[in-house]
């Protein structure tokens, strides 16, 4: 089964979630054996997921104040 570049970019999440069909798994490997452009696309997709994971977590001052208010803190 041949997977085109256009098709491959829509399968990256299925691949990562382990949801590729058996046919697509073969097509995926065959495609990446020659296509550096798609390899770069996947690398950037992974970099994006990695960057999102490391975003700082902080609530707004307003959110903090509201919850502190529920507990009677100043």
């Amino acid at each position: 089964v041949i997977i085109t570049c256009r098709q491959l970019v829509e399968k990256v999440t299925d691949k990562r979630e382990g949801r590729l069909s058996v046919a697509d798994r073969a097509g995926w490997a065959a495609h990446l054996a020659w296509c550096g452009d798609c390899a770069l696309y996947i690398e950037q997709y992974e970099a994006t997921v990695g960057a999102v994971k490391h975003l700082p977590r902080r609530a707004s001052d307003d959110a903090r104040a509201k919850v502190l208010g529920i507990l009677g803190h100043e």
Binding site: T48, V52, R57, A63, I70
Partner: protein
């Protein structure tokens, strides 16, 4: 997923009245609570009230929390329940799952090969630039509410997909489509910024 032992220590401090612990609790959970509420409610206007009500229930129930799930899962389930109760009254957000291309079709030739392929990003730009974090945060906030909730719960909070499907009443396949669309949109935003 945070270790339950951290949850226990934090809960003890909150129950003992430690202000810093309350702030830690809010910092860890308030954003994902907002995302869950926004994914269930028909408009953003009701999100603050639902989150406030959820916090009242969370704080009221903290002493009885039994650690059968992580604190995060427990808090977000409470939030989802409050949001659903409100949605029963005012109407639920329509679940629209589009399955359109996530990369502009113009970038491919008629046989589906890259015509305008991705170009390498500035090396280490992802690590070096604080503005990039701000850009990503803005893009996440601008995602459609369901996509935003799935991306935040999966990729920031690290919840397993089954829990997210359960919380947001999504099928696994729909959750995957939402995750795919959200991540692709974030990648495209970084691409616009980082293209060499």
């Amino acid at each position: 997923v945070p270790a339950p032992v951290d949850d226990r220590a934090l809960i003890d401090k909150v129950l003992a009245g430690a202000r810093e612990a309350v702030i830690e609790l809010v910092d860890a959970h308030d954003e994902p609570m907002r995302c869950v509420a926004a994914a269930i409610l028909p408009d953003r206007a009701h999100v603050p009230d639902v989150v406030q009500e959820a916090w009242i229930r969370v704080l009221g129930g903290l002493r009885e929390f039994e650690h059968r799930a992580s604190l995060k899962t427990w808090i977000l389930r409470i939030t989802a329940n409050v949001a659903r109760t409100t949605a029963e009254r005012i109407g639920r957000a329509p679940v629209s799952i589009e399955d359109l291309p996530t990369v502009d079709p113009e970038r491919f030739s008629s046989i589906g090969k890259w015509r305008d392929p991705p170009r390498p990003w500035h090396p280490e730009a992802l690590l070096l630039r604080k503005e990039l974090g701000e850009l990503l945060q803005r893009e996440i906030d601008a995602l459609p509410p369901l996509q935003r909730a799935v991306v935040v719960l999966r990729d920031i909070e690290g919840l397993p997909s089954e829990e997210i499907c359960d919380m947001l009443e999504l099928s696994e396949a729909n959750q995957r489509v939402l995750l795919h669309r959200g991540r692709a949109r974030l990648r495209a935003a970084l691409e616009r910024e980082l293209k060499t």
